[in-house]
């Protein structure tokens, strides 16, 4: 811990959208006991992630595997007696991790779909034919051009694609 200030990381998190409530945690463990992932694998424990973050263990939190194992089910957030918005805190931590280049491959795939088609799941020729066979209307074009402008305005394109056109 020498030279590091635990509160710096806390401040960084609370200044991010989603991270505002992390410092309210008093470590009761309600989150972990209601979490479907924690009961399935030792790789994930929301109480522990919050503790490490509040202790300023920045690298351990942001470079580890744990923050990617939240299933976003919001059980913990629903039941937290301190109203820590835990699932949103996890999003804030992921947002910080991604900006630093810790990007699991699946997220690059999602970003690619959004950037190229405006949707995460591409429509295959097979599906287009099936849709027509069943009498479903042809799909309207997505507003992908508008999305590109939004992504440029928030810097999302730079977050995900640091070298031009090349996923990290």
């Amino acid at each position: 811990m020498s030279g590091e200030k635990p509160l710096d990381f806390t401040k960084e998190i609370t200044s991010k959208l989603g991270g505002e409530t992390i410092a309210r945690c008093y470590q009761c463990g309600t989150c972990a006991s209601t979490c479907p992932v924690t009961r399935t694998t030792e790789r994930y424990n929301p109480r522990q992630i919050i503790r490490l973050a509040l202790l300023g263990q920045r690298d351990e939190v942001l470079k580890g595997d744990s923050i990617w194992l939240c299933a976003s089910c919001y059980n913990c957030q629903e039941r937290c007696p301190q109203k820590v918005e835990i699932a949103d805190v996890i999003y804030a931590l992921r947002n910080i991790a991604i900006r630093e280049g810790n990007i699991p491959a699946i997220y690059t795939e999602f970003a690619n779909g959004l950037m190229s088609e405006g949707r995460l799941a591409p429509i295959s020729k097979f599906l287009e034919k099936k849709r027509a066979d069943y009498g479903l209307p042809p799909l309207k074009p997505t507003g992908v051009e508008a999305i590109k402008k939004i992504l440029a305005a928030t810097g999302f394109d730079k977050i995900m694609f640091k070298k031009e056109g090349t996923p990290q």
Partner: protein
């Protein structure tokens, strides 16, 4: 006639036309007019929120702007879309500073979020616009006490502070709508617990273990089927049973059926008019039971 902008999202039109088909048939039969949205995009669900929350809010808001311009409220089928769009709509209506920030982003795409429209899940349309009495009167083929394990998925209910759909610990709306079709909504262990679907692609083994729990609990409760609202829950539990068979050497043959399909069948839509071949676990047993 009540009209809605139909927000389809990504997964349903691309992977689950059986859901879209059943929902369109049922809602149209019940007198709801569905207007397809021009220029809609991905709703910005958890995978994108994980990359950047601010960008995700702006994308959700962009889609709400399309409905505002068309002067229509939005109806969603996917509970993931319901969650993303509802959270954005409520946050931007209720937090002026956030709205200002997002509107600055949206200006680049020529849009402005005004906060004039509502986002509804189609279950709310059934409950509030059609009403349970009229729905019951429209049923021509009651489901013959079919034992249904209701599984709404997480994002219909949580985070309840923003979604405000039903009591998050003791929800009744989905069960009420199942029973309106002449089926039984049966209790089963950990009914409200997640299917693990959002971990697919990052931790497939963990996702599958959680999905297996769901299947086992419904199976042990004697369910004839699990009924879903979310396309990810459907995929996780339906395709998931193929993976459970390969990984755990267990076979449950638990039909997974979107509520919209049960609704269509009870409204008298013939099975051959629905895209039932998109089910990995065949649902013949359920069709036999409802006759």
């Amino acid at each position: 006639m009540t009209s809605y902008a139909l927000f389809l999202g990504c997964t349903i039109p691309a992977r689950q036309p059986h859901y879209e088909l059943a929902a369109r048939k049922a809602l149209t039969r019940l007198g709801i007019q569905l207007v397809d949205m021009e220029g809609a995009t991905c709703c910005a669900p958890p995978p994108l929120q994980s990359i950047d929350l601010e960008t995700s809010l702006a994308i959700a808001a962009y889609n709400i702007c399309l409905a505002e311009e068309a002067d229509l409220n939005i109806v969603t089928l996917c509970t993931g879309c319901f969650e993303s769009l509802t959270i954005a709509n409520r946050l931007l209506k209720e937090k002026p500073e956030l709205r200002e920030k997002v509107n600055k982003i949206l200006a680049n795409a020529g849009k402005e979020f005004r906060g004039t429209k509502e986002v509804r899940h189609y279950l709310q349309v059934l409950m509030d616009d059609i009403g349970i009495d009229r729905l019951k009167q429209s049923i021509v083929k009651p489901l013959n006490n079919l034992k249904v394990a209701a599984f709404s998925g997480c994002h219909l209910l949580r985070p309840s502070e923003l979604l405000r759909f039903d009591d998050p610990e003791r929800p009744r709306i989905f069960d009420t709508l199942i029973e309106a079709l002449g089926a039984k909504s049966i209790p089963y262990k950990n009914k409200l617990r997640c299917c693990g679907g959002l971990l697919r692609g990052y931790a497939d083994d963990v996702a599958l273990a959680i999905a297996r729990d769901k299947i086992v609990n419904a199976y042990n409760a004697g369910a004839d089927c699990i009924s879903t609202l979310c396309p990810f829950c459907f995929l996780t539990l339906d395709l998931g049973q193929m993976l459970i068979k390969a990984t755990y050497k267990e076979e449950y043959n638990m039909p997974i059926i979107h509520y919209a399909e049960l609704l269509s069948l009870s409204l008298g839509v013939e099975p051959k008019e629905l895209a039932l071949d998109f089910h990995k676990v065949k649902i013949d047993r359920v069709l036999e039971k409802i006759g």
